[in-house]
């Protein structure tokens, strides 16, 4: 094991897979000069511009091109700079990548990874801060992963690149410089398997992306109040590992779901619905959901901060679920 930053772990995952398999290549805006987030730093020098390509500002065409390349046997990794920008390229993803295998009767697969930055909190404003994973999770044929640690970031990325189906890999801008342990040796993290990031017995907190860390700090803070919180990180949003979530709730009897996307019609609703269906008899309290209020994300720092879910919100909800509310 070694200590590594999240961004470094992503870079390593990319480099290792590019090294392993010539069919792997990358497309996106400004990748050669490492893009605004520097995720691809050093890759063009090492692998050349045949494999690390700058594109015109034509997301729809270059994502569609990647779909074609994937069908023809390559394994493209495409960067769509931020998740907000999928609005200009939903079609190659949703109507083509996701459905071509099915509608043509399984004649071919579309092994494609779409790398994208999600998340708010960095002053990027209404058009560069959205979390839209719920859209993609609702599309059969796609998979969606959201790593919260350097370990998961590298392991899920490598697994995604080796997977035969189209995958959205949404990393969080607020995690870029977060440190964590990463194995020295080769490993992958399986797609579709949740991770219990902290064990506990009183309440289950299901959290994704940056919110995993808010949930962990809320859980730490609740210890002194005598509440033992379990934090489950689905890691893969679709297919969702409902077994792990349901098992946790059966153990704790209480559920808080938290994500950074707007609460309404977000992935937290699916988690809550699954539990209300499959662990109903084990629930001791109403399910709580936490997410962004139903508004776009404003630019101003203090407005943004007024909206984003925090450890404090999570702790309050968890304590309320446990019948130990904080006095106001």
């Amino acid at each position: 094991m070694k200590d590594s930053r999240y961004i470094r772990a992503i870079g390593e995952g990319l480099a290792e897979e590019l090294d392993r398999d010539d069919r792997v290549f990358m497309l996106g805006e400004d990748l050669v000069d490492a893009g605004p987030f520097s995720v691809t730093r050093g890759l063009a020098e090492r692998f050349g511009t045949r494999r690390i390509r700058n594109t015109p500002i034509s997301e729809s065409a270059f994502l569609g091109l990647a779909v074609g390349a994937a069908i023809a046997g390559l394994r493209p990794i495409v960067e769509v700079m931020t998740m907000d920008l999928f609005t200009v390229c939903m079609d190659p993803l949703v109507n083509h990548a996701a459905k071509m295998r099915y509608m043509f009767g399984g004649q071919y697969s579309v092994p494609l990874v779409v790398l994208t930055a999600t998340g708010a909190g960095v002053g990027a404003g209404p058009h560069h801060s959205q979390s839209l994973e719920a859209w993609f999770a609702h599309v059969p044929g796609l998979k969606v992963v959201m790593p919260s640690t350097p370990y998961d970031a590298k392991g899920l990325l490598k697994a995604a690149i080796r997977d035969d189906d189209p995958i959205i890999y949404a990393w969080h801008k607020g995690l870029l410089s977060r440190m964590g342990q990463v194995p020295e040796e080769e490993y992958t993290v399986p797609i579709g398997v949740a991770d219990v990031k902290r064990e506990g017995s009183d309440v289950t907190i299901v959290a994704t992306g940056l919110m995993v860390h808010q949930a962990l700090s809320a859980a730490d803070g609740m210890e002194e109040a005598g509440i033992s919180a379990e934090v489950v990180d689905p890691r893969t949003i679709s297919p969702l590992d409902t077994a792990t979530i349901v098992a946790s709730v059966k153990k704790t009897g209480r559920l808080v779901v938290v994500h950074e996307a707007v609460k309404d019609f977000g992935i937290g609703a699916e988690v809550a619905a699954v539990v209300a269906e499959e662990a109903f008899d084990y629930l001791d309290a109403p399910i709580k959901r936490i997410g962004l209020p139903f508004t776009p994300i404003p630019f101003s720092r203090n407005l943004e901060n007024a909206l984003l879910p925090t450890a404090d919100h999570i702790a309050r909800a968890a304590r309320e679920a446990c019948g130990v509310p904080v006095e106001q």
Partner: protein, 322 residues
């Protein structure tokens, strides 16, 4: 063109097969044997045949909702195609795709999709893979005049130009997008002029003449194969029927509907072949009978094929079943 006589006669046969199978499909739609809508290719056959005459087996085509001509010309088995149009188990996509969504990867048919303009970038991507892997295969992407107003047209042609990809963009200009005339959706007469926006060749040909289509394609394919990049080829043609079978065509005059059949590519090519002494009356007769038999066999095969098993509705979503 350095084609052998047999090759020319083969093109004639191909035109006839497209025409006759399509007439049959239209008839089956009108008589309710076909579930869904049918977007007839009648009248546009010279484009598919003229273009595909220059493609190798290992080359690729991408197609549209009006795609049966392209599929047949690229070698899709008429039986399995018709079975798919009838959404049967033995259809080339097992009944999941139906009329509009057909692929046959083994024959280099990338696919056709229900999103106008949607396949252009996919096709460009297959061309990218050819270039990336250093093969000399080429990709042909068919689309309509209406599709050239989609953003995907612009972005895909630009991308193909920037990377000089081996792709031939064939715009089948039949003058209509559904019920709307070309002149109501753009002010240019020749869509080929749009090639200038990407610094690639833009060529206009009579799309109802299989020889002019073929000659222009020969050049464009050679260009793509040699690494010199994409071409936009506009084939002016005519959609004999409505947008789909059953379209009452209130937007089109009777005269126009009759007029547009005047340039029928089949008698034109037949006359040419006969004048050149490449086809005799008897040979033509023989070919026609042969094609009739093939169409009849396809119809029989398709109608005999059972509907797909309900449980197959759940397969093929992912590469590995969960």
């Amino acid at each position: 063109m350095g084609f052998s006589n047999e090759r020319f006669v083969g093109m004639y046969r191909s035109l006839l097969l497209l025409r006759k199978l399509e007439e049959k499909a239209v008839e089956m739609t009108m008589t309710g044997q076909l579930w869904g809508w049918l977007h007839s290719y009648l009248g546009q056959e010279a484009v598919a045949v003229g273009v595909c005459a220059h493609l190798r087996n290992d080359d690729f085509v991408a197609s549209t909702h009006r795609g049966r001509g392209h599929f047949l010309a690229k070698g899709l088995d008429p039986k399995r195609m018709l079975a798919e149009v009838l959404s049967r188990q033995d259809g080339v996509c097992g009944g999941k795709g139906g009329e509009i969504h057909i692929a046959d990867w083994e024959r280099g048919i990338i696919g056709s999709t229900g999103i106008v303009g949607g396949i252009l970038s996919t096709a460009t991507g297959v061309a990218f893979a050819c270039q990336y892997q250093g093969t000399d295969q080429v990709v042909t992407c068919f689309f309509g005049d209406g599709a050239s107003n989609q953003g995907s047209f612009h972005e895909s042609l630009n991308l193909a130009s920037v990377w000089q990809l081996p792709v031939l963009f064939v715009c089948e200009n039949n003058g209509y997008g559904e019920f709307t005339r070309q002149q109501d959706s753009m002010r240019v007469t020749d869509i080929a002029i749009r090639a200038q926006a990407y610094d690639i060749p833009g060529v206009v040909v009579d799309g109802d003449n299989v020889l002019t289509v073929s000659a222009a394609t020969e050049e464009a394919v050679a260009r793509a194969r040699s690494g010199a990049g994409p071409t936009l080829l506009e084939c002016k043609t005519h959609r004999w029927l409505g947008h789909y079978t059953g379209d009452p065509q209130g937007y089109r005059s009777k005269e126009e509907m009759e007029e547009c059949r005047r340039t029928d590519p089949i008698p034109r090519f037949q006359n040419h072949l006969m004048e050149k002494g490449l086809l005799t009356e008897e040979a033509a007769q023989q070919i026609e009978e042969d094609v009739d038999r093939e169409v009849a066999a396809a119809v029989e095969f398709a109608l005999d094929s059972p509907m797909p098993l309900p449980e197959t509705a759940l397969t093929d979503v992912y590469s590995k079943a969960p």
